[in-house]
Amino acid sequence: MATMIQAIRMALHVGESRLGVTDIFGEDVGAPLGGVFTGTQGLETTWNTPLDERGIVGTAIGLALAGRKPVAEIQFCDYAFNTIDLLKVAGNTYWSTGGDWNVPLVMMTPVGAGIRGSIYHSHSFDAQATRIPGWKIVMPSTPLDAYGLLLSAIQDPNPVMFLMPKALLRVKSKPGEDIPGAPDDDKRLAQMIDAPLGDRSAWKPEWPALEEMYIPIGKAKVAREGTGVTVLTYGRNVPMALAAAEELVAEGVDTEVVDLRSLHPYDWEAITASVRKTNRVLCVNEDTEITNFGEHLIRRISEELFYELHAPPKLLAGAHIPGIGLADNLEMASVPQMSTIKSAIAELAQHEP
């Protein structure tokens, strides 16, 4: 059972050994550290950059234009905000040149709260990311989805942003959701691919015989089927919504949890099917609530599925405050928690038209 960060590392290994990835780079991405979350340990094509996010994104664009296949990391999405005009260029180059240059790059960056990261290690990026046309945006909630989405991102001829829910990076996969080709035994997997503590100059990973597995960009997954209320969510809030749904069984509420996985393009078909079935919808994410991606979904649902709805669609998102404070109470009051998701679902289920 792999963790999400191990799954990411294994996908990058498949990427560089079979899918043409030429450069995996960012701050502290190369040896000796292999990434602040260990995502790039033991890989062949990693290198360390200067501490300069604009340089990282610019280099990724340039490498892509030169026909290479770069995977760039921004160490925390909190530090990607000064690159937004370059992200816009990555997203608009194919369009503004009328199809002359496509920009095949992957940018990965850890996002969100849940690790007591205080003001500058808790930002979300989904609202910003979905405001940059020309990018595909994905965000996994399980190790297997991380593996399959990252392989698809690597193969895509467009810029793809791979948002890594920080709080889930060390969570292990559930039974039946193993990375194809990786050993089931987590101790064995760790021995094979986790760098040892201390001096690792002589260490080399022993990669399992991994099989390729692609999760198409643009396809959601029904993480839990239900008939009473639809929860549209992604990343860290998926396991929370699933836990809330389990607790609500006792109260007679049957929740459907749709894990969007791709924020752009997003799976409107899956959303429509679920809303038609449950007639009640809750959007959950951690980004600040004003001009939030969930608001977009609610706007479209209201316009196109209005007569399917038995209750006003609801958004549960991060508070619109300047930051996420460090103390437990502050962080928990700032972004959705299992308990707040649970009460929001219950409220929707009980709503009488």
Partner: protein, 315 residues
């Protein structure tokens, strides 16, 4: 040089006659930009030079072999504009067949992007080409310029990158001294251990020699070089400031024509005749393209996502 100058003059006329919405370009930079286009190794991919140009680069494009009528098409924003299909301003070139990376409006970002193409050509990769990046003097105040100095000069990881600053001594209106505390931009390269040079960009022979030297260094050493060319801004910043002739500036074309005449290489009347011919040619072309179709409203949705990896060699 003459063709490039006349092209810019035609573009300005088109703008003034309502055949375009905005003009920005390079009258005054021909003596430097034309040699650059002639000396660059043009082609596709890492074995040729990547050009990350400024919005004053028509001289370089024409020297590479671009059809001046295509520039008129971009000015007129017709669907047949090969650089942007009616989407972008004049002077915003893009030509993958010659590694001309798209010119974009945000000042200085080409200096961050050029690191990537140069990285793909660094020593040890076997790539034969180098990367060339060019921008104005005011823009070097942006962080991207510092980015390119830092990234290209790391010991053992140097990049084959020719950094060019075309210094016309102005931003839009802010004069040089209002932005920089050093006399020459090129001085900044010294702190990064790279060779630097300043050249009179109004002198075509000096520009040719300076570019030859700089290109030779970058090609053979696979290391960065910072070249600053002092140039004129003959028509002001852009159409936003009127695009009128700045009489106080040195005109490199005048100067070169005089040299050609003095050295008896070309007669004044031959040059005048060429001027008349090209002027008529471009005037006629600009009338002709008035009849070319504008982009359709539906075309806004074209080319949002690529279906194939064209830059990776798929066709």
């Amino acid at each position: 040089m003459l063709r490039s100058r006349l092209l810019e003059e035609r573009l300005i006329t088109m703008y003034k006659q309502g055949d375009g919405y905005f003009w920005i370009g390079g009258p005054g930079e021909e003596a430097f930009n034309v040699p650059l286009g002639l000396l660059a190794d043009k082609g596709t991919g890492v074995d040729h030079d990547f050009l990350h140009l400024h919005y004053r680069s028509s001289g370089t494009l024409l020297a590479l072999g671009a059809d001046p009528v295509d520039s008129l098409r971009q000015m007129k924003n017709v669907a047949s504009d090969p650089y942007s299909r009616g989407r972008n301003f004049a002077g915003h070139y893009s030509a993958r067949k010659w590694n001309v990376v798209p010119v974009t409006s945000p000042i200085e970002i080409q200096y961050s992007i050029a690191i990537g193409t140069a990285r793909a050509q660094r020593a040890g990769t076997g790539a034969k080409g180098i990367s060339i990046v060019q921008g104005g003097d005011a823009g070097t105040a942006e962080g991207d310029f510092a980015t390119s100095l830092v990234w290209s000069s790391r010991k053992g990881a140097e990049l084959p990158l020719l950094l060019i600053v075309t210094n016309n001594r102005y931003g839009i209106s802010t004069p040089y001294a209002g932005q920089h505390g050093y006399d020459q931009i090129s001085e900044r390269g010294k702190a990064f251990g790279m060779p630097t040079a300043v050249v009179d960009g109004n002198d075509v022979e000096a520009s040719w020699a300076a570019l030859t030297k700089a290109l030779h260094y970058v090609r053979t050493e696979k290391k960065p070089y910072l070249l600053e060319a002092m140039v004129s801004r003959l028509r002001g910043h852009s159409s936003a400031s009127g695009a009128n002739l700045a009489k106080e500036e040195v005109d490199c074309l005048e100067r070169f024509q005089k040299t050609l005449e003095d050295r008896k290489i070309l007669t004044r009347s031959a040059m005048d005749q060429l001027r008349d011919e090209v002027t008529t040619e471009l005037a006629e072309a600009s009338k002709r393209i008035r009849g070319e179709a504008p982009p359709t409203p539906e075309s806004i949705h074209d080319y949002v996502f690529a279906d194939k990896n064209y830059v990776g060699g798929e066709v």
